[in-house]
């Protein structure tokens, strides 16, 4: 021990830390506060699903496209068909099992005549798509056969199934990633559709 340290022992009021009325300097709180912010941000981030990538096309007009109908159907799908009324565009494929899971819900929805449901057939073989709709039933008012998937890329599609709500002005209003469930339908999609429909009537 040296004299300075001994002096400190003898003088209890003096400390080596910067003095403030309350004791330790507040500047030490800075890294701690910064860490707290980051910790909160990470905690929130951990609850988010990285596979749910929000669409950057919300509010944008639907991309220009013009697709022929799926084999065996008559009405094709283009961007001009999506103006004038609120509609749903469902991206599906016969090779997609989750699409099969949501299919009964789409059939049900189509029967209720609340909103037209159009189908964007993603990277499917014409025979397979036709067979799929013939055997399971066809909920779609119009279908578009996107054989090479390019139109889907313009919509920002990165998986199947995905479902878009398009408003009366032909703008993308909402994107659902993954299969629709009854819960999502009741809590998110149908209320939003009704809101868009009411809004346009004013």
């Amino acid at each position: 021990m040296n004299k300075e340290a001994a002096t400190d022992l003898l003088n209890p009021e003096s400390t080596e830390q910067p003095e403030t009325k309350n004791g330790i300097s507040r500047i030490y709180a800075l890294p701690l506060i910064g860490f707290a912010f980051i910790a909160v941000a990470f905690a929130i981030g951990l609850t988010l699903n990285p596979r749910d990538i929000p669409s950057v096309l919300i509010g944008e007009k639907v991309p220009e496209f013009n697709l022929p109908a799926v084999q065996g159907r008559t009405l094709g799908l283009s961007d001009t068909d999506l103006k004038g009324e609120v509609s749903l565009v469902n991206v599906f494929a016969s090779w997609c099992t989750a699409c099969r899971a949501e299919h009964p819900l789409l059939m049900n929805l189509a029967k209720q005549n609340i909103v037209p449901v159009h189908g964007l057939n993603y990277k499917d073989k014409p025979d397979d798509a036709q067979q799929w709709l013939d055997s399971l039933g066809d909920p779609y008012t119009r279908t578009g056969a996107d054989i090479d998937g390019r139109v889907a890329i313009d919509w920002g599609v990165y998986g199947v199934p995905e479902t878009f709500i398009v408003d009366k002005e032909g703008r993308i209003a909402y994107k659902q990633i993954g299969a629709i469930t009854q819960k999502i339908l009741d809590e998110k999609i149908l209320p939003f559709i009704r809101k868009l429909q009411d809004r346009s009537d004013q």
Binding site: M1, E4, T7, G34, S55, V56, D148, G156, Y158, G159
Partner: protein, 154 residues
Amino acid sequence: MKKIIISVLSLFILTSSIAGAVEPSEMLDDPVLEQRAREISKGLRCLVCQNQSIDESNAGLAKDLRILVRERLTAGDSDQQAIDFIVARYGDFVLLNPPFKLATLALWLGPFGIAGAAGLAYFNFIRRRSKDTRAVPVLSHEEEARFEKIIDKI
């Protein structure tokens, strides 16, 4: 002989993994364009296998986007235009290098901010220590000797 065979085999295996998932049929004839396409692809995230670039990923969408990038370049787009084309459809998340803009400021500057704050605090701490100018009382020789004796016992 065995060593030569092993080293040649290793060379093949290593270089093939660097080649990524690009198939010969996708490759452009113009090597300059092809090289640009490869570089751009390495910076675009495959949204299906999210920790891979579209250059590495075997996913169908990755292949489609690789071909799309090549088409844009062949059509005359600059690197930035081709990238902007993809970002316009999929958003900033498709970029493996997050862009430097207001929304990502916290991401880019955060670590430096924390390090800076910590450095400041430490610097402050050191500065105050060396500023310690409390006078050490002067002791006579006798007092000094007594002092040393007491201190040695501690």
